[in-house]
């Protein structure tokens, strides 16, 4: 993702790098240099919590431990055709007075990145300027992957030890995480619920007026454990 999407590398980067393609090698070494530089100041922070949860049709209620009244309720959209999926379906009904759980998290690698990137751009270091932002965004994504793994462990579903990073990146594990603004839950306003529950301001992530995260190199998500979790689209255009 970093080399292809952000740095504009064409073709299979890993393969080309292994084949010692000069361009790939050059890009790799430049990014490595940038990574080393970034390691000195880039800070990766995370905040997360499990909440008790109940679903009611398309609504998802989250509760403090044992509470009657929900802390927050998300109203999701349901697919109008096909499997008629809705995120709330992935929470199991309470069994013997015991509720199911969802995990909510925010991670960020964006602290101070914008200023440094702006400065680099200002100084004419377009590569660095662009590279830094790309690196931060990808770092946040990676951190989300790491945290999600931890969350699965806390749920008692550790990834099998033989699982590779690449397999992990393609989500071959139990449960899924969903971020607002993506097809299964396109409403960015719903971010407000996460902010109410987690107070991610503490790790330096604010919501903009448009409910986008600032700094940009941040990821927020709801994680479900249900084995039937799948990525789907509610067809935002219809609403």
């Amino acid at each position: 993702m970093l080399y292809g999407r952000h740095m504009g590398y064409r073709g299979d980067f890993e393969k080309h790098l292994a084949a010692r393609e000069p361009k790939a090698v050059e890009l790799f070494s430049e990014m490595e240099e940038l990574k080393n530089e970034a390691a000195s100041f880039m800070k990766v922070r995370a905040v997360w919590q499990f909440f008790e949860a109940e679903s009611e049709g398309d609504a998802l209620h989250v509760f403090a431990a044992g509470a009657e009244e929900p802390l927050h309720t998300w109203k999701f959209k349901r697919q109008r055709s096909g499997d008629q999926l809705c995120l709330s379906d992935f929470v199991l009904d309470a069994q013997n007075g015991k509720r199911d759980h969802v995990a909510v998290f925010v991670v960020t690698a964006g602290e101070g990145i914008r200023a440094r990137s702006e400065q680099a751009k200002h100084e004419g270091f377009y590569f660095k300027s662009h590279g830094l932002q790309a690196l931060a965004i990808e770092t946040a994504e990676a951190c989300a992957e790491w945290l999600h793994r931890r969350i699965r462990e806390d749920w008692g579903f550790p990834d099998p030890p033989e699982m590779t990073m690449a397999q992990r990146f393609t989500s071959r594990y139990r449960g899924k995480r969903y971020s607002f603004g993506y097809p299964a839950c396109p409403e960015l306003e719903d971010q407000a619920g996460i902010w109410k529950l987690l107070r991610p301001e503490e790790i330096g992530v604010q919501l903009t007026e448009g409910f986008m995260m600032d700094p940009e190199a941040s990821v927020s998500a709801l994680a479900f454990h249900h084995p039937d979790c799948t990525y789907f689209s509610v067809g935002e255009g219809q609403e």
Partner: protein, 941 residues
């Protein structure tokens, strides 16, 4: 003959009150009658509809009646081809007057039958474009055309028309001839003949002879017609943008009577009465129209539908026209704050250019006009043309030169002569709004009297020199006299001679500052201050200077520097137009600091600071006051001499270095300088040198060339580069990139996506868009760059041809932001909803979200710079992020504070998806506590 004053008053009152309805096609209705050769008056006359008023008046009368019955307020006479010029093709030229009279009388008869006090009916005399578009086809002289139109106008008015309709115009010179003919008639009958000007815009977006509707308006607004409008051509759907433009610029009424769509392969018009009325209703609802009807392919059924549609609808309210100083050739250019100073090319002048003079003397018109083209290519936005000399007959040269000139350049012409007959002759060749250079009060009002009527006839702006009858010093030297003469000229011209303030361009005069002539010392300061005073006192007028005069007497290198510095300060003082040699204009920013100071000292008559102790006039120089006006005669002379000597000395000694100057710089800096200076001399050679060093083409672009571009941006923001110079920089960049492109790898895999880029209509700024293009292209996108001034319909066409993944709109000017709104809305109407990326200096994220996005059905993304544009495109092409980007930027989606109103089709019936199991054990979790963590090492992840 009608009381035309009464007709005009009645029409104006009605037009302000409601939307009036014109009739439909005459030809289409005649075709339906299956007339035979006999009906036309014999086989030789078959197809001559105009002759039917004589042979089958019953048929013509019946058609008029049908249209009135259908609800038309105005019918057109059966005289579209009724000029002697066209009738001549049937041998009927001698009957022109009679045929037009009869045509008018027939329509008059029908109008009288249907007129009621509540719904008076009018007759409009139809005057078609003739069979000659003078600029395009030739075959007729301007005066011949004028005479032909005159005969027709006379017949129509004598036969009882209320107004005339100069319609289906394809060439503004034809219109000018037609309007002059009508004005001639008005003078003769002692009544103003009301008329409409209705033009035909071809599918390519301009009239046949090249002007856009806005350029046409700028060229003809002085004629003050009852209405400007459009007819025929494409049918209503392609008229949208042009009608909107016309409606927004003109203070006159606006008319529109389109064809019933575009004809199909069999020549059938496809719009039904209902569909045509529905399309016109859009225009009406936008408040764009005062007068509406039909052209080819329409019948009384169309007119009935249109009349019903406009019933009760509000007519367009005429806006107040601003004091905009717009000049035009085929293209328009406006003298306003965002374009100052307009550069006027000076080399097509037999007095100022020996080369041009010789070419004219040898009658080498091709080469002579080539100089004009070069000036325009070199950045001239207006072209000064002077053919007046004591050695040749200017009036013989004008037809030869202008006939070629108007085919080579699109820029407005400044006609530089003192002979009124020559001015008039030259103007008959100009489609656009030209500038006359110049008039003054040297011989009292004589020049005003002779030239101003010509300016009125053709709608030219005039340069007014600050010169009066003063016996001692006719040419105003001091700032006060410049202002005094300007004010006096202004009062005379606006009050007595009826010239609009914005059509006056004052020349405060430039005096040489380095000839040693004591009378001219301080002249540069006086000129700058004169501009300031005139602009403050008469803000609607414009100013012009012949810049190079200031440096007369200095060595060549020094002249260029002094000229550039002088232009810079004059522009700061408010100068609107500058006559310069665009090919030899140094950029202010590129003049070395030291040389800049030398020029400033000379121009401002600064008291020297670094006088050596043993300087013979040291004492005199040191004690002088700062304001040159307070310096003693001796001080003035000494200071002037000091600075002349300093600058002349500097350039004499640096002259030899001059040539090698560039090569001494390091290669990278030289490459950047090509961009900063907007020059291409040596560029390719240096690019090759850089490549020879083994540097990849892309790295050359991203390295030294982009650095140069960044510097251009910085200089532009610091007001040290003017718009024209920035455009040259962009061109140098383009040249460099296109040279390097041949060495760049073609994308080995499929392109990542396709983008259509355009600078919006009305905006000429290429630079931002080109940067985006460069960056996108170098990142694997397929970019279709439509260039500048791209109207919405061209974008729609490009969309259909290229099917891009996104459209990028660029624009620098404030009005471009508004244009993006209209463009977005037109794209939406055309059913386009691919993401729109918008960017430009006057745009903001807020404007994008609040003004543009609501007018578009898809996502509208604000790209604050080229990198953002790239990021957005990358995200849009990546399925993982596309949904997010689209929804964040779509007003009807999410992420913006606009409520969604689209109705949900059907509520899903289920409360739980059957695909998700419900009977699974609930796993335990370790803890319900909130966790906050700083992830210590990146590599851990």
């Amino acid at each position: 003959m009608r009381d035309l004053k009464q007709s005009e008053t009645a029409l104006r009152e009605l037009l302000a009150e409601r939307i009036l309805v014109l009739d439909g096609a005459m030809g289409t209705m005649l075709q339906q009658r299956d007339l035979t050769a006999k009906d036309f008056g014999g086989p030789a006359l078959e197809g001559c509809n105009e002759n039917l008023v004589r042979t089958r008046p019953d048929v013509v009368l019946d058609i008029h009646r049908k249209y009135f019955e259908a609800g038309a307020d105005i019918v057109e006479t059966d005289s579209f081809g009724g000029t002697p010029l066209v009738l001549g093709e049937y041998g009927l030229q001698a009957d022109a007057l009679e045929l037009n009279k009869r045509a008018a009388a027939l329509a008059r008869q029908a109008a009288e039958e249907y007129s009621t006090p509540g719904k008076p009916r009018f007759v409009a005399g139809s005057m078609g474009p003739t069979t000659k578009a003078i600029t395009v086809t030739g075959g007729v002289t301007f005066e011949g055309l004028l005479d032909s139109y005159y005969v027709q106008a006379k017949g129509l008015i004598e036969g009882g028309c209320d107004l005339l309709l100069v319609e289906t115009c394809q060439d503004t010179r034809n219109i000018k001839a037609g309007v002059l003919a009508i004005q001639k008639l008005s003078r003769e009958i002692g009544m103003r003949v009301p008329y409409l000007i209705s033009v035909t815009i071809e599918p390519m977006g301009t009239m046949l002879a090249g002007q856009t509707v806005e350029a046409m308006w700028a060229s003809l607004r002085h004629t003050r017609p009852l209405a400007f409008g459009m007819n025929c051509a494409t049918g209503p759907e392609f008229m949208t943008d042009h009608i909107r433009t016309l409606s927004s610029v003109t203070g006159e009424f606006v008319s529109c009577y389109p064809n019933a769509g575009l004809p199909d392969e069999e020549g059938k018009y496809l719009e039904t009465p209902t569909s045509l009325a529905a399309q016109l209703e859009k225009f009406v609802n936008h408040g764009w129209l005062n007068l509406v009807g039909g052209c080819c392919g329409t019948t009384e059924k169309h007119i009935r539908a249109i009349a019903q549609m406009v019933d009760g609808k509000k007519p367009r309210v005429r806006p107040q026209e601003a004091h905009r100083a717009i000049y035009s050739g085929i293209e328009t250019i406006e003298a306003d704050d965002s374009t100052r100073p307009l550069l006027v090319g000076e080399r097509t002048n037999v007095i100022g250019s020996r080369l041009f003079k010789n070419l004219v003397a040898e009658e080498k018109w091709e080469e002579a006009t080539e100089i004009a083209r070069r000036q325009v290519k070199g950045g001239a936005q207006v072209l000064d043309v002077c053919l007046q000399s004591t050695e040749r007959d200017e009036k013989k040269d004008i037809p030869e030169f202008y006939e070629k000139l108007i085919r080579k350049i699109k820029a407005p012409v400044m006609i530089d002569t003192t002979d009124p007959a020559a001015v008039r002759l030259a103007l008959t060749y100009c489609q656009g709004k030209a500038i006359i250079n110049s008039i003054n009060l040297e011989d009292g009002e004589e020049k005003f009297e002779k030239i101003v009527p010509i300016a009125h006839d053709f709608g030219a702006a005039v340069v007014v020199g600050c010169i009066d009858e003063d016996a001692v010093q006719a040419q105003a030297f001091t700032r006060e006299r410049k202002l005094g003469i300007a004010k006096r000229s202004y009062d005379l011209l606006t009050k007595k001679y009826g010239i609009a303030a914005e059509d006056i361009i004052f020349d405060p005069l430039v005096f040489p500052c380095a000839t040693g002539d004591e009378n001219y010392i301080g002249g540069a300061v006086e000129t700058m201050e004169g501009i300031r005073l005139i602009k403050a006192a008469l803000p609607d007028t414009r100013t012009i200077l012949g810049i190079s005069n200031v440096s007369f007497g200095l060595p060549a290198g020094a002249r260029e520097a002094v000229n550039s510095v002088f232009l810079f300060y004059c522009t700061k003082a408010g100068l609107d137009l500058a006559i310069v040699n665009t090919e030899k204009l140094d950029r202010f920013a590129s003049i070395p600091e030291h040389e800049r100071r030398l020029a400033e000292n000379l121009l401002f008559q600064h008291v020297p600071k670094d006088v050596k102790a043993d300087h013979p006039q040291a004492e005199l120089l040191r004690g002088a006051p700062d304001d040159w006006r307070q310096q003693s005669k001796e001080q003035k002379a000494a200071i002037n001499q000091f600075h002349i000597a300093a600058i002349a000395e500097h350039f004499r000694s640096s002259n030899k270095k001059e040539k090698g100057k560039g090569e001494e710089l390091p290669l990278d800096e030289r490459l950047g300088n090509y961009i900063i200076q907007g020059t291409r001399d040596g560029l390719v050679e240096d690019l090759e040198k850089k490549r020879a060093e083994g540097v990849a083409p892309l790295d050359i672009i991203n390295g030294p060339l982009m650095d140069g571009m960044a510097e251009v941006g910085r200089l532009f923001n610091a007001n040290e580069l003017i718009v024209a110079e920035v455009l040259q920089s962009a061109e140098a960049m383009k040249a460099a990139v296109s040279h390097l492109e041949q060495y760049m790898e073609k994308a080995e895999t499929a392109k990542r996506g396709k983008v259509v880029l355009a600078t919006v209509k009305g905006d000429v700024h290429d630079i931002g868009k080109n940067l985006v293009e460069i960056i996108l292209k170098n990142n694997g996108f397929d970019v279709v760059n439509l260039g500048i001034k791209v109207p919405p319909e061209e974008l729609i066409k490009a969309y259909q041809a290229h099917r891009p993944d996104a459209i990028g709109l660029s624009g620098l000017l404030v009005k471009s932001a508004q244009q993006m709104v209209t463009t977005a809305s037109d794209l939406k109407d055309a059913g386009i909803d691919v993401p729109l990326l918008v960017g430009g200096a006057a745009l903001s994220a807020k404007f994008t979200q609040q003004k543009i996005a609501p007018n578009y059905s898809g996502a509208v993304c604000y790209a604050k710079d080229a990198m953002t544009g790239l990021r957005l495109m990358n995200e849009l092409m990546d399925p993982a992020t596309r949904g997010r980007v689209v929804s964040e930027h779509t007003i009807s989606g999410n992420g913006v504070s606009v409520t969604t109103t689209v109705k949900v089709a059907a509520k899903p019936s289920v409360l739980h998806s059957p695909k998700v199991r419900r009977e699974l054990p609930i796993p335990e979790v370790a803890t319900l506590e909130r966790k906050v963590r700083l992830v210590p090492d990146l590599r851990e992840v």
